[in-house]
């Protein structure tokens, strides 16, 4: 079950000088109710993976399945994808209208109330923001409106491509908060170059390099085997780096889903006990 990709390969511009293999036999899975963080250096194939999972790019080989069945047509009923800089795709006269576009396209009997609920879920009051032009929103608000446009589809799986890029601290926290809350309704994959704020809500991290999965595991696995994670050409998130160092000095591991506070108290407890 879940949203799964089995051994998928994707090559862009096949048979031309610009031929580019973006994914090379990648297997990937998101279960309902979990958050998977996908990391990897630029060009490693993260966006291509999400597009394949959403049925927007057809893999040359391998298959994508959602809860054991092939992707429905249109895939939007089962899988929602929020692209990088999604605010650049807003077009409606009002925010509410724009968010209702997806449900309307899918034949939802009441697209407006689906849109209102989605706006509320991303923390934008439908009464005030709903009637504004999407082009009058701030960057962070537009980002959340665009995310609402996907949440309104009611898909069981939601894929977010770099949802925090270009946002300030409070904008990033708002996005993490959306992910934490939506986890109850759906399975979520987050592609990001800044995984730190997502670690407490993530159940797994997957690292790509050159179109292959080089690491897949919990934060705990990453702390125990940092060399695997680092082999993706990435730096370990600071919160995990601290735990790697603490583990090396004999401190216990914080459980998966720990925040900075949790890690700090685990370490302080250990120190108190040893003295």
């Amino acid at each position: 079950m879940g949203l799964t990709a089995s051994e998928i390969s994707v090559t862009y511009n096949r048979g031309t000088v610009a031929q580019q293999r973006a994914l090379d036999g990648v297997s990937f899975c998101i279960e309902a109710g979990e958050v998977v963080v996908v990391v990897g250096v630029t060009g490693s194939g993260k966006s291509t993976l999400l597009k394949s999972l959403a049925g927007l790019v057809k893999p040359d080989s391998g298959s994508v399945a959602v809860d054991g069945a092939p992707l429905p047509d249109p895939p939007a009923r089962a899988v929602g994808i929020v692209f990088q800089n999604p605010e650049r795709q807003l077009f409606g006269e009002t925010v509410l209208d724009d968010v209702a576009f997806g449900p309307r396209m899918l034949g939802d009997p009441d697209p407006i109330s689906a849109a209102e609920q989605a706006l509320a879920r991303v923390g934008l009051d439908p009464a005030t923001f709903g009637q504004r032009s999407p082009f009058s929103l701030s960057g962070g608000e537009a980002r959340r409106a665009a995310i609402a446009g996907i949440l309104a589809l009611g898909a069981r799986y939601v894929l977010l491509d770099e949802p925090t890029v270009g946002l300030d601290g409070s904008g990033r926290r708002a996005v993490v908060e959306i992910v934490r809350r939506e986890r109850e309704r759906c399975g979520i994959a987050v592609v990001t170059h800044h995984p730190d704020p997502f670690l407490p809500v993530a159940s797994r991290i997957v690292a790509l390099r050159d179109g292959r999965v080089v690491f897949s595991g919990t934060t705990e696995d990453a702390v125990r085997h940092p060399e695997q994670y680092v082999s993706a050409g990435l730096q370990l998130p600071e919160l995990l780096e601290i735990q790697v160092e603490a583990l090396r000095r004999g401190a216990p591991l914080a459980r998966v889903g720990s925040t900075a506070e949790d890690v700090a108290s685990v370490l302080l407890d250990a120190r108190r006990r040893s003295s």
Partner: protein, 264 residues
Amino acid sequence: MRVLSIGQYIPTDSPVHGLDPRTKLGVVALVTVALFSVTRFEAFAVLAGLLVLAVRLSRLPVRSVLRGIKAVGVILAITLAAHSLRWGSPPAGVPSAGSLWLDPAGAMTGVFFAVRIVLLVVTTSMLTLTTSPVALADGLERLMRPLAVFGVPVGDVAMMLTVALRFIPTTAYEAEQIMMAQAARGARFDQGGPIRRAKALVPVLVPLFVNLFRRADVLAIAMESRCYASGRRRTRMKELVMRASDWFVLIGSAVLCVGLALVM
């Protein structure tokens, strides 16, 4: 989802690609004049022979050269039909179907015009297939430079052309991304009649234009902050130079095309 493919330049390392864009523009102009002045098939045969030679030298896939002909297929069909089909009571000894009959003399004229169109299309495709849009713009600018004497803002026009060409791939990519993003929300671009399809493009075109205007704004500021001022004479990083091979091709084509135009 390749809906937008603009510009058909195919980069290969060939002597035709290596020619100065001005040479190629000049040759295309000469061949065009020749194609329209000659009145005999033999002249077409000579020009076609030269084109075949150019295609061979350019190392382009022949299919890409012929693609242009497919695009004008309808025009060719209409040209042939308009010249060769007659309506009325058919004279004896010509193929006919009811009152529709085939005029052999007209058919010859039709074939003549069709060959002219085919050669013209192949000639111009050769230009765009072997010359990058930016090189073309450069070449045009150099050719138009004398017009500056009459107050034509040649430099600005060239800059506009270059910037526009530079942003075609960016814009095409962005359009593709936006189409994908709207498809992810259930939009369909391949369903219904022409009106429904046109309407389906609204969610693509609105953000595309909004983003374009924003980008244009940023670009203008960036250019001005680096002291771009219109009307100023600018030097180039890479000056175009006519080499011996360019002069050879240009003069050779001139002699041949003018000769054909005068004689045939």
